[in-house]
Point group: C2
């Protein structure tokens, strides 16, 4: 790159952010490398450590975040501090430049090996919209919704990195009242934030200690086959309607980069159980602004800050029963929907289950995703000193 | 052991069975080894291969089944044939005896590393019992039940091997109409068969090819916190009510050992979609007889042969949407319940949700599991030439 200092001037990916990724150079036959993003470049951490601090090399050797996730929060902090020092020091410009690759020259991979994957349902507006669409005579929230963050396990093996095509799933669904097998006819997105855990532990954990076990955040698109889901989900929840693919952005933003984005969760309508009560803990809601682009056209701006439950509450709830948490466990927030129409995080809500189609400037009218459609979700949060923390984007194209 | 031939005479674990396990000798500091069971001994496969066929050593080197699961069905067959030849040949008695350990001298471990874990709901009688207990005014099967095997993802990270204690989970549940946090008050079992996949593939697969991607079977106990589950499960299904622990038996019986147990699935009340139609494929229901022991007392004998969907149908359904299947993916059948009272595979059904307590000879009257209770589930199937295929058992003790 031209110089570390010129990259430091690029808003969104300056030294306040430094999200991790796994990348390959060139044709994909090369080994994956662990990197951090600086400006529009990716720094290859292992050779930089070899030149600047050989004691760090082991942490970067796997080519992804797995080894770091297995480490302790103290180690996460030391590694981040070292990297920040390297890129901001006048002394190391040459070393940094030597191991920096323009982002358009790299192939981004899954940044870690996912273990278990849980998806929550933590946006009140989304849950209300679902109630109004599917149970108009009884649109209330589920009975336990205000007392715990409802969640379920998804398929970890089909978490895929941004840029991977999504093949339209097949399954049984009702067509004109008749059950038929065929391609999904209501393919949808869910705009979410995802989190990856580290520092595994046998539950339960204290809410105040959640940051000891959550490493960082990324954007997540929980692709959903609404018709397949509708036919299968009673009584055990979503299965094949979700399990074909869940895309995540390639950049894992450490929680440490999100300190300026921390805000309180919304006022509580009902008191929470002690283990979920965040009134006396450090705020763990996050002021992240998402944007959903359908074939390059912005159709929605979901606000993460409205979520009723925070990532810390989700992590704490996930293991309150005593379940273990492993480094590499992933959880998603659930669809993020704000109160306004253009803040809805799924096309089911945006089109009100197809009743109010969306007209795209380039591509006509849509009730749901067509083959060839591309969905990109971006996200940004306030960083320290007026900076911006950019999450990059998660992008996927539908193939038939 | 005294001799290979004397072990071969022990019914249940003769050369027709040869289930795999992962084991350690002594104090547990040793490395895990991949073994097969012969009689009441475990054979350590790696050193046997070193002496008898060095080309096999690599397959046994990981100390568990992971490498074999990643191989092909052809390799599974060659490995099994080699082992069967070794133990039945007159020539190899000394080598076999040298690397055989009495079963009481070994510690059994998880036989493979689980990836995704799916649990099905494939017993009609169980689904009917659940309907009668929880929806007496509308006890019908869920609408899609006869058209697809309903399933959901569980927590792979809390799959544990037989013999591991199970700590009573905590969670939110209703007590006398009030929502309270505390220890589970209705702790239950679910007697199931489990299956582990190998030879990973991107779905879909043909029903006739399911055996190319399912390696073997074991007993599974899906511990369930009924009160926690009841409060949380609408609308996304079971989560913390199940995710604290799922126990499996340590012996993975290869499908090849179950040929004599294959029978047809029950008659269909409604036609199945083509991808699930097993009328023209090799039968894939299995005549396995389970037994549930509550504090050493037999309380139930669930018959696996009554399951409405077979393991091949479950595997095929799991990836019909296009999802990938990985070596190490696990699926459970769901609770196995027959038509008779003493064939019910959960205590919720046996006690009819607590209304009809069970009286144990040693331990008094029970509506559900108490701390200190031990549950053991055994299973047996017919083997070739009048032999018996014994699955051993899955056992767990409840701690407070």
């Amino acid at each position: 790159m031209t110089s570390a200092s010129s990259q430091l001037a690029k808003p969104g990916f300056d030294h306040h952010n430094l999200p991790y990724c796994s990348f390959m150079i060139g044709d994909g036959d090369a080994d994956a490398k662990l990197g951090v993003r600086l400006g529009d470049h990716v720094l290859d951490l292992e050779p930089i450590a070899q030149e600047l601090d050989a004691s760090m090399v082991g942490w970067f050797a796997m080519g992804n975040l797995d080894r770091i996730l297995a480490g302790s929060p103290q180690m996460w902090a030391s590694i981040r501090k070292a990297i920040k020092d390297w890129v901001t020091s006048d002394k190391h410009g040459e070393v940094i430049a030597k191991h920096a690759y323009p982002i358009e020259k790299v192939i981004l991979r899954m940044p870690f090996t996912p273990n278990d994957y849980v998806d929550f349902y933590a946006s009140e507006q989304h849950a209300l919209n679902v109630g109004k669409i599917f149970r108009p005579q009884n649109p209330d929230l589920p009975a336990s919704w205000k007392q715990l963050p409802i969640g379920y396990h998804g398929r970890a093996g089909t978490l895929i990195v941004s840029g991977t095509d999504v093949k339209r799933p097949y399954g049984l669904r009702r067509v004109d009242g008749k059950v038929e097998f065929g391609p999904c006819r209501f393919l949808d997105i869910e705009a979410e934030m995802g989190f990856v855990c580290g520092n595994g532990v046998n539950g339960p954990i204290d809410l105040a200690d959640a940051d000891q076990h959550v490493f960082g955040a990324f954007i997540l698109n929980d692709w959903s086959a609404r018709d397949i889901q509708a036919f299968e989900y009673v009584p055990l929840g979503p299965f094949l309607g979700k399990s074909f693919a869940t895309s995540i952005s390639p950049w894992v933003v450490p929680l440490d980069a999100l300190k300026a984005a921390r805000i309180s969760t919304p006022p509580r309508d009902e008191p929470l159980a002690k283990y979920l009560d965040d009134s006396d803990t450090e705020p763990s809601a996050l002021d992240i602004s998402l944007e959903v682009l359908w074939n390059d056209e912005s159709v929605s701006s979901p606000p993460f800050k409205v979520m009723y439950y925070s990532y810390a509450q989700m992590a704490t709830h996930m293991v309150v029963n005593g379940a273990s948490l492993r480094a590499g466990d992933v959880f998603g927030s659930g669809t993020i929907s704000g109160a306004e129409v253009d803040q809805r995080g799924s096309f089911m809500e945006l089109t009100w289950n197809g009743a109010e189609p969306v007209t795209l400037e380039n591509g006509g009218t849509r009730k749901s995703l067509m083959d060839g459609d591309v969905v990109e979700i971006t996200a940004k949060a306030p960083g320290p000193d007026g900076s911006v923390i950019d999450f990059g984007s998660v992008i996927g194209r539908i193939t038939g």
